[in-house]
Symmetry: C2
Subunit: 358 residues, 2 copies
């Protein structure tokens, strides 16, 4: 048995209940993975994060490549030791960040040159270097470098990015095999791009399937297209992906997005929504989103969500959380992030139970 | 036995090893009390705070009077329930903040008028209102309103503030007795003022002693005077205070200050140093203060302090903490605050053991 593998435990329609095994333990799917971009969850300790029911977390290779540097993290014992998270970790390759954060990125067939968002320095990432970076970081799951054109890119640009992403995926698969990284316990996932175009999604999924990745991500969605476009593109990709491999919808999203995508056959999600909304004083609840700065909560003694077992809901009233939010106390963002993370994990637990229920 | 009382368990020179009992449990002395100014420790949950070994915490009546308002906190069940801290709480009356934070404060014999730091609104606090505020907040220990002239005030101003503070203390003691608040389980502490002048300190301590407070604070030190002046003023006050009552040195300070003041007979301290230094990326250690942004820690795999059992030292390297600090991650301030609080509590544990050791 390889160090990492995916088990489909149950299926209901296209929705799957599964388990993904890694050298740092397994995670249950459908899974929501919180994002610790710079090897840290904003304001949340690993111990608190564990308490939200989170099993897999994300970190971002782009940010860590720029600072503190992958070689440094390797010398510090790798990402797990560095950030004190002993569960599974997935790193994004940095493609998305290069194209969305860096000014003046210039892509060619061999790689992409860009300016560091930290100091403006000239940087370059290639499919091979993206793997080197992730080999040094040492996550359980690495991602291939991909080109992510903006949501409003013209069809030629989308087509070109599609071809380049596939060529980079071929290179990455070959290099990863040559290095024996799969055997050393690092999975490599391919990324299906293709914008809102179902034909491109289908051909990308088919070609990546041939390359036999350890898992398949679907990128470039939830970037401005309509919900209907997203569903068509998602269905097109999922239909072509192998049934025995995990499917990961990158950067999505909200509770409604999760349900829809899981019904379409997606197993894994990551998103900053839970923590970002928390820092913006917004709480997800079974009764909708609460904006905690609102006057209406000033003496509301109820917890955020009466059905929630999280630390925040067990200990604090909306009135207190509003006081923290209005006073600009750091603790507001922390307690709301903890609740939102727990809420997202509760949602995943409920969905998993639904699928098990048949 | 009243709900709150002080036991002197052991004495070594003038240093005392004691225990203060409150309706929300006891705390061991010498005691360091962390400060949660606005009914929140900055970035730290009550659960994490408990993990640092903290027993008594402070909140500030001035800030809570202005926002969210004492009546609101009362309607929310009082401070303990509001902020989910079930241990002892002490509230500062607000005197210090009025004189240090508010522009244009105008003091007269009946009270002090000042502008709110939140919205510039005109506010007024009297000795009676300061007690009403604290009765609504419901801490275990309330403080009388005092006048705190600046460290460089001329002798006339210091003398006048001294007289006024004593008159206010008499009023407060009488009102507190009339309300029966001691019986309901709220202790009231008097505050010895007098600037660097030992004669004023002596007369203040003598007069307050006559009023038979439940404990005695020494205020207006560590505000710019020399260490020698502070020691003289402190000794003068302590000598006149009753031996069976707790002694609290307000707003002090650093580990060196603690040792010196405990040797002089002080039992209780509060200070924002631990958390403020933490948020400024500074760690207290047995080997001195570390400034975590420094390049020298970039690959330093040691914990902050090898002798420390705190969560931060058990889980994270200096290299990781530097990465967080340089990256501006909230988690830097949180982990460093947790360490500093634990370090201060360790220091108190060591000092208590020293006194017990004889």
């Amino acid at each position: 048995m390889p160090a990492f593998h995916f088990e489909v435990l149950q299926q209901k329609g296209r929705a799957r209940r599964g388990r993904y095994h890694t050298p740092h333990g397994s995670f249950e799917t459908p899974c929501f993975a919180p994002v610790g971009t710079r090897a840290a969850m904003k304001g949340i300790t690993p111990e608190q994060l564990r308490g939200t029911g989170s099993e897999l977390i994300l970190a971002n290779a782009y940010h860590l490549f720029l600072r503190p540097g992958h070689a440094r993290i390797k010398r510090c014992g790798g990402l797990h030791r560095f950030m004190a998270w002993d569960g599974p970790i997935l790193t994004d390759s940095g493609g998305y960040q290069i194209f969305s954060l860096s000014h003046l990125s210039r892509v060619d067939d061999q790689g992409v040159s860009f300016q560091s968002i930290i100091d403006g320095s000239e940087q370059r990432l290639t499919p091979e270097l993206a793997l080197e970076v992730q080999r040094d970081l040492g996550p359980d799951i690495a991602m291939v470098l991909d080109e992510c054109p903006p949501g409003d890119a013209d069809p030629d640009r989308v087509q070109q990015a599609h071809q380049r992403t596939l060529e980079w995926a071929r290179q990455a698969r070959e290099i990863h095999r040559r290095w024996g990284d799969s055997e050393r316990g690092q999975a490599l996932f391919g990324i299906v791009q293709g914008g809102p175009n179902p034909e491109l999604r289908i051909s990308a999924a088919q070609e990546l399937r041939e390359l036999d990745f350890d898992g398949y991500a679907i990128g470039g969605l939830s970037v401005g297209e309509t919900k209907a476009q997203m569903e068509i593109a998602l269905d097109a990709a999922v239909d072509e992906l192998p049934g025995n491999k995990i499917r990961y919808l990158m950067g999505v999203g909200t509770p409604e997005d999760f349900r829809r995508a899981i019904s379409a056959g997606v197993d894994l999600f990551d998103c900053v929504t839970a923590t970002r909304h928390g820092r913006n004083n917004q709480a997800f609840t079974r009764a909708g989103t609460l904006k905690l700065r609102n006057q209406q909560y000033a003496e509301d003694l109820r917890p955020l969500d009466a059905g929630c077992a999280c630390y925040t809901c067990q200990q604090f009233s909306r009135a207190y959380l509003r006081h923290l939010a209005v006073s600009g106390e750091m603790l507001a963002g922390i307690l709301l992030s903890l609740h939102n993370l727990h809420y997202f994990q509760d949602l995943m637990r409920e969905i998993r139970a639904d699928i098990e229920g048949g």
